[in-house]
Symmetry: C2
Subunit: 630 residues, 2 copies
C-alpha cells in the first residue's frame, strides 16, 4: 500500500508522518548508535556489535534492548514505503548485516544472552524477553521485506523462528513454555503472513493457548531457576500481571500490564480470524468490549495505575495518577485493527480514531522530538514527578527514556497509518480513517484532500482499476452527514457504520461532509473521578484546559452549561489548531478557612481549551481534561 503525502503542507497527518520520518526516525537511529547528545544512552547497536564479535565490551541496557532495533527497522521500512531513501536503506542494510553476524549458527539471536549470560538461554521466559525481542525483530524483518523485497533480514528471522520452534513447543523434549511479555505471537503471525509457513501460525497459536494453563509454566520455570530473578521482586507480580491467571478463552476482563494485554489480545484476535476459532473469537470480543466500555480513558488511554503499569478494576479511572502508557494506546490500535477484520464495525474504528488523535498522539511533542510515556488527564506541575504518588507523571515531555518502548512504538504506528486508514478486504476496499494524501491499493488509487479534523469536508479522488465495492466509515459521532459520488447524493444508510458504494472502473470523486461540532461529554456515573464533571470533544479530538490559557489553579474553575464555541483555526497556535471557548466560573473562598457554610463566590470567566494531543508544548503549566460543572 503506497502512500504519498498530501500537497497541502497543513494536512494533519502529512505534517505528522513527515515529522516522524524527518526527525524522529533519524533521532532514534542516532540514539541507537549512541550519537545523540543529552539523551538516555541506548547501546542497542553496540550490543549487536559485541555479540557479533566486532567490538568488545559489556552488554548494556534492559534485557529487551534488542527490541528497539527491531522497532526502528520496522518504522524505517514504513518510511521507505512512503518515500524511497537510499541513505536510510543503506543504514538498514548495514544493521541487517550486523544482526546476521550476531546470529548464532543454530539461529539463536539475542544479544543479552549471547554477550552476558550465554549459558542461560531459555531459562527465564517469564522475565527475560528473549521471545519478545525476537517478535519485534520479526516484525521489522517482515516490514523491511515488504518495503524493499530484500529477503536477508526475513531469512535471519525465519531461522530464529525455526530455532524457537525446535526449542519450545508441546512436543516431548521441548520446553512447554511461553513468553512473559507477549509480542512474539504478533511477529510469528507476521512471518506466517509473509512466508506462508504454517509452523509460525501453529507456534503463535501454541503460545496463546498455553497461557494461563495450570500447572503454570512460569511457576515451574521459576522453581527450576531456584527462584532466581532477573528483575528483583518480579515474583511479587500476580499472574494477572501477564494475563497468565487463566486461559484466554476464560478471561472475562482485561487485567494486568496493559501493554502485555494489548499485544496478547492483538495476536489472539488475529489467530481467531486465521483459524476461525469461535471460542477465541468470543474471548477477544469480550475483552475488546471490556477495555473500551469499562477501562478506557476518554482520551483513548489504557492502564489506570502505575503499579504494574496496569488496568484497574472496571470504572476505576483516576485522572491525575493515570498511567495511560503511550504503548498501550498503540497496542489498542493493533488490537482494533485485528478486531475490524473479525467484524467490520464502525464503533471499533471510532474508538481507534479516538485513541489515535488523543492518547496516542499526546505521546509525542508537536516537533516529534520529545515524548510522553505516561498520558494523564490531569496534571498539577507542583506534584507531577515530585510527590511519590505522582512520580510517574511528568509535566513536560522528556527527550528520551532509559526504557525506550514508547517512542519507537509511536513511530512505527504513525508511519504505518495508511494500513489503518485503508483495508484491502476480500469484498472490496474499506476506508476506516481519513488520511490526507494518496494511497494506492490493488483495486484503486485514492487521493484525499481535507482539512480534517478541523473541517468535516472530505474529498477523495478515486481512480479505480476495476469495479469494486468501497466501504466508507461514517463516524458514529457525527450528527449529520452527506455523501456525494461524482456529485450525486448517496441516499443510503451505513451498515454497521460503513457506507457501501459501488465504484465502477475509472475516475470518481467521492465527497463526504461530516458535521463536526463541539460536544460535551458526561462520564459513566460509576467512574468516581469524573462525578460532576464534563469533558469536551470536537470531531475526534478531546480537548483539555491548560494553565497557559486559563487562570491557575485549575481546580478553582468550573464550566457552565451549554456547548463550547469553536474559534477560528489558528495556524500560529500549536502548529495550527482550532481552540475552543466555553463560559465558566472561577470560584473563590471568602475568607481563608478551608471549609465554609457559605458557597464559594463565583466570577464569570471565559475558558479556553486546546486539543489534548497538543498539551505541554508551551510553558509547563497545569492541565485537565475533565472540568467540574458549575
Amino acid at each position: 500500500m503506497n502512500y504519498t503525502f498530501s500537497p497541502d503542507p497543513n494536512d494533519f497527518w502529512t505534517q505528522r508522518i513527515r515529522q516522524v520520518m524527518d526527525r524522529m526516525i533519524p533521532l532514534q537511529l542516532s540514539i541507537l548508535k549512541d550519537e545523540a547528545p543529552d539523551t538516555e544512552p541506548s547501546h542497542a547497536i553496540e550490543n549487536f556489535r559485541i555479540a557479533a564479535g566486532l567490538a568488545t565490551g559489556e552488554f548494556y541496557g534492559y534485557v529487551f534492548q534488542d527490541s528497539d532495533v527491531g522497532k526502528w527497522i520496522e518504522s524505517a521500512s514504513y518510511s521507505l514505503m512512503i518515500r524511497p531513501d537510499e541513505v536510510l536503506e543503506k543504514e538498514i542494510d548495514a544493521l541487517v548485516d550486523l544482526i546476521e553476524k550476531a546470529q548464532l549458527p543454530d539461529g539463536y539471536l539475542n544479544t543479552y544472552f549471547t554477550v552476558k549470560e550465554p549459558g542461560k538461554r531459555w531459562t527465564n521466559l517469564e522475565e527475560c524477553h528473549e521471545l519478545y525481542c525476537a517478535g519485534h525483530l520479526m516484525e521489522g524483518a517482515a516490514a523491511y521485506f515488504e518495503a524493499t523485497g530484500k529477503r536477508k533480514f526475513l531469512d535471519i528471522m525465519c531461522r530464529m523462528a525455526d530455532h524457537i520452534d525446535t526449542v519450545i513447543g508441546p512436543e516431548e523434549g521441548k520446553i512447554h513454555g511461553l513468553p512473559g511479555h507477549p509480542e512474539v505471537e504478533i511477529g510469528l503471525l507476521r512471518l506466517y503472513r509473509t512466508t506462508g509457513n504454517e509452523r509460525y501460525l501453529k507456534l503463535a497459536e501454541y503460545f496463546i493457548n498455553e497461557r494461563g494453563k495450570e500447572p503454570n509454566f512460569f511457576d515451574l520455570e521459576r522453581q527450576q531457576r531456584n527462584g532466581a530473578e532477573h528483575f528483583k521482586g518480579f515474583h511479587m507480580n500476580k499472574k494477572t500481571y501477564m494475563q497468565a491467571h487463566k486461559p484466554i478463552r476464560e478471561q472475562e476482563e482485561a487485567v494486568g500490564h496493559s501493554v502485555r494485554a494489548m499485544y496478547l489480545y492483538t495476536a489472539a484476535a488475529q489467530i481467531a480470524k486465521e483459524t476461525e476459532d469461535d471460542t477465541l473469537k468470543a474471548a477477544v470480543f469480550r475483552l475488546w468490549d471490556n477495555i473500551v466500555n469499562k477501562k478506557m480513558y476518554i482520551t483513548g488511554g489504557f492502564g489506570a495505575t502505575t503499579w504494574g503499569e496496569a488496568f484497574m478494576r472496571n470504572y476505576e479511572l483516576p485522572n491525575d495518577t493515570a498511567y495511560a502508557e503511550t504503548c498501550a494506546s498503540v497496542g489498542a490500535m493493533f488490537f482494533g485493527q485485528r478486531m475490524l477484520k473479525l467484524k467490520r464495525d464502525g464503533k471499533t474504528a471510532d474508538i481507534m480514531e479516538q485513541v489515535l488523535y488523543n492518547g496516542l498522539l499526546s505521546g509525542m511533542s508537536l516537533e516529534a522530538d520529545r515524548f510522553f510515556y505516561v498520558n494523564p488527564l490531569e496534571v498539577v506541575q507542583a506534584l507531577a514527578g515530585k510527590e511519590n504518588e505522582y512520580e510517574h507523571v511528568l509535566g513536560t515531555r522528556p527527550k528520551w527514556f532509559a526504557c525506550a518502548c514508547c517512542p519507537p512504538n509511536l513511530s512505527r504506528l504513525i508511519t504505518s497509518l495508511p494500513s489503518y486508514a485503508y483495508e484491502e478486504a476480500e469484498d472490496g476496499v474499506v476506508i476506516h480513517q481519513y488520511l490526507g494524501g494518496s494511497v494506492s491499493t490493488n483495486k484503486a488509487d485514492f487521493s484525499l484532500k481535507t482539512s480534517y479534523p478541523w473541517e468535516g469536508s472530505l474529498c477523495w479522488k478515486v481512480s479505480a482499476k476495476e469495479a469494486f465495492s468501497l466501504f466508507v466509515r461514517i463516524p458514529g459521532w457525527t450528527e449529520k452527514w452527506g455523501a456525494f459520488l461524482d456529485g450525486k447524493e448517496i441516499r443510503k444508510l451505513p451498515e454497521d457504520g460503513y457506507l457501501q458504494l459501488d465504484i465502477s472502473e475509472g475516475t470518481h470523486e467521492l465527497m463526504l461532509d461530516l458535521t463536526l461540532r463541539p460536544r460535551r461529554f458526561y462520564a459513566h456515573p460509576k467512574i468516581r473521578a469524573n462525578a460532576g464533571c464534563a469533558a469536551f470533544m470536537y470531531g475526534p479530538l478531546v480537548y483539555c484546559f491548560e494553565g497557559v490559557d486559563n487562570p491557575e489553579p485549575l481546580a478553582e474553575l468550573r464550566v457552565s452549561d451549554g456547548l463550547p464555541v469553536m474559534k477560528a483555526f489558528d495556524e500560529t497556535l500549536l502548529h495550527g489548531v482550532k481552540p475552543m471557548e466555553i463560559q465558566g466560573k472561577r470560584y473563590k473562598m471568602a475568607g481563608d478557612s478551608l471549609y465554609s457554610e457559605t458557597r464559594p463566590e463565583a466570577e464569570n470567566v471565559t475558558l479556553q481549551a486546546i486539543p489534548y494531543y497538543a498539551w505541554a508544548n508551551r510553558e509547563a503549566k497545569d492541565m485537565r481534561v475533565w472540568m467540574t460543572e458549575e
Copy 2:
C-alpha cells in the same frame, strides 16, 4: 482534676471513657503481656524482663516498643484518677518495679539497646527512638505520680532525664544531638512541670532550638555510623520528613511526618509559653494556622499521604488515599491545648472539638476493641487494602497493629479528656469542651448534665469554693445561643469565643443552650478533591454516607440542594446516634458506554448519613464524606 462519670449511662463521653477504661486498657495490658489471642504480638513487657535479667531471650518488636509501656501506664494512671482500682494500681506498681530493674546504674533505660545493641547507645538518634521512648516513659511517670503520689517511677525517669542531660547537650564533650522523632521534649516539659527542675526545661528547649540547624546533626551522625541504617532506606527521607530542614522559627509551613510535626509543635508551643519566647510563639501560631487553614481534613485528620505518613502541600487533601493517622489527630489535641494557653481563642477550641469528635474518635470501634491507624474520607472496599495505591487504607478496623502507636494514644487522650474540657487558668476556670459528668477544680466543682452532641442543652451545677471568673466557650459554629446563670439570662457577648461569668461562692446553675443544626459545607476551591462536593455536619459531628444505608456504588449518588433533616435519636443504632437524611439523586447511564453526550439519568433517592466516627461498625461497605452535588 478529679472526674466522675455522669449518672446518665447514655452520656456521650461517659460511655466512651468507661469503655476505654473497662475494655481498652485491660486489652492493651494483655497485649503488652502477650496474653491476648489473635492479635499482633507485642513482647514489650518481656523486653523489659529480659533487660532486667529476669528472663532470657531476644528483644522483639520495633525499636520504639518501650513507648507502648509508657503510654499504657499513662492511660492507666488517668484511669486511676477517675476510678481508683487496686488491681490496676498493683499492675502498674509491678511494671514500675520491672522498669526499675531494667534501668542501668547510670540511669540509662531502653530495652532495645540494653538487650540487642548494648554498644550502640546514642549512636542513632535519628532513627532509633531512644529519646522518644524516654519521653513516653516520662509522661507515664508524671501521670502516675499525679494519680497516686507515688514517686518511684518519677524518680526512675528523672534519673534517665539526668542521664540524658549528661550525654546530650550544647556543652563540649556532649553529643550535640536531637531526636529524630520528637516526644522527649514533651516528656521533659512534663517532668519540669512536676518537679520544677529547670534542667528539664532547658534540655527540651535545646532540642527544639537544635532542630534544623546546619551543619545538620543527622547528617553528621550518619557519617559517624558510616551510613549504617536501622530502617533500610531511611536516608532517603528528606529532612522535611522530621521537620529538620530549617530551624522551627523559620518554618512557614507544616511539612513531613505529621505525628512528628504535631509532637514538635506541641513542645515548641509549651516552651514558647514557659519561656515567653516571642519568635517561637510566632512560629507556632504560623504553624497552627497552616495546619488548620491549609492542611486539615474536615474530619480533623492530618497528613494527606501515606508516603512518609506526611502532610502534602497546601490544599492537597485527597479523600480516598488520605492518611489522616489517628496519632496525628491526637497530636493536634496536644498542640491545640498548648495553643489555648498561649491565647484563649475559641476558634482553637472549636478545631479541637472537630478533631475530637471525628478524625480522632474514628480511630476506635464503638466497642473500643478495634482500631484505625488511617482515617480516610472515602473508602471503596474493593480497593482498600487491595490495590497498591490503597494498601494503607483499611475498610474495617483491625484488632491491633504491629506498630501499635495509635490505640494507646487514643486511650491516653480519652482518659485525660477532663484536662481538655476544663482549664485551671491564672484568671479563673475555663470550660473549653462539654464533658458530661463531674469535675473538681481548685476553685469549684462542676457537674454537667447534657445530651450533647445530640442536643444543645448544657446544664452545669457549679459549686464554688470561692468567687472566681468562669470562661465558657460558645462554639463559633452555633447560630443562636442562650446562657442563663441561676435562671437569669446573661446578656453579654463572648470575647474571643469565651463568655466570662463572675461566679460567687456557693452553688449555681449554669444553663447553656446551643442551637445545633445540620450544616452543609463547601470546601475551599483550591482543594481539588472536593470540587463540586458538599459535606455535612451537625454540631461538632461530621457525617458520612455508608453503603449500609445507601445504594452502592456511592459514586452514583449526588446530594440535592438544601439542608439535611435530622432524624430522631436512635439508641439502637450505632450505640445511639441521630442519623441525617438528605434528598439526592442516583445517576444511571443509559446504555453501557463509558462516556456519553447524554447527561446520565437521575432518579430521586433519600440518602442517609451517620456520624463519621461511627462508620465501619456494621457490615463492611463503602463510605464517603464529601458527596458530589446534583
